[in-house]
Each structure stands twice: as structure tokens, then as C-alpha cells.
Symmetry: C2
Subunit: 67 residues, 2 copies
């Protein structure tokens, strides 16, 4: 399976937001809806800093989780 893990980057640290993310969709300006292969969903505000798919990583910065 080729899902990725989503992390918040800040203060030089990566904090896991969601594991095994399958779908990433914009949800307005600088806001995203994440859905995992397990059916979990999260809406976050923030910007994509970098995606590194071979490393299974999606990094977000300046984020705020909404639910």
C-alpha cells in the first residue's frame, strides 16, 4: 500500500497528524481534508511544506487541526 503519513513541522520537529493517509483534498484556502485508509478523516488548516512520497511523508507547516 502506498499511503503516506502526514506530519506537522514546526520548531525543527515533525509531529504525526495522521497515519496511512490515502486522500488529500483542498478544503478552501490553505485548508485540507485528509482521509486515511482506515476511514479516519481530519480537516486541517495549514500549508503543504513538502511531500516525499517514496519516504511516505507529507509535511504540513503553520497548521491548526480543526477536528
Amino acid at each position: 500500500m502506498c499511503e503516506a503519513n502526514a506530519y506537522r513541522v514546526g520548531d525543527g520537529e515533525e509531529t504525526l497528524i495522521m497515519e496511512s493517509v490515502d486522500v488529500v483534498e483542498p478544503d478552501g484556502s490553505d485548508a485540507w481534508r485528509l482521509a486515511s485508509i482506515f476511514g479516519e478523516q481530519k480537516n486541517i488548516r495549514g500549508r503543504i511544506k513538502r511531500m516525499h512520497l517514496v519516504d511516505h511523508k507529507i509535511l504540513f507547516e503553520e497548521i491548526e487541526e480543526q477536528n
Copy 2:
């Protein structure tokens, strides 16, 4: 390998922009740098419409390839 293919979506069609994308990084507002596992690079303007990682797809809309 868990890279994805990047497509432009418009007029109900998906057109391949780059195969086997590994890295996606913002390059300003609504602009992105793509890098494939083969070392190919492309800069595009446009918005992410949807990423579906299990399907190996990144869909961009309203895009314009810059190089």
C-alpha cells in the same frame, strides 16, 4: 515504490504531467515543483485538486507548465 503520477484535470480529462513523482514542493503561491524518481523536474502553476495515494494519483487543476 510508492511514487505517484501527476495529472492535469480539465474538460473532464486527465492528462499526464509527470510519471513516478517522488517530491512535490510549493514554489510560491499556487505553484509547485515536481521531481520524479528518475531525476526529472518540472515547475507548474496550478492548484492541487486531489491526491489519491493508494491509486498513485495527484490531480492538478487550472495548471500551466513552466518548464
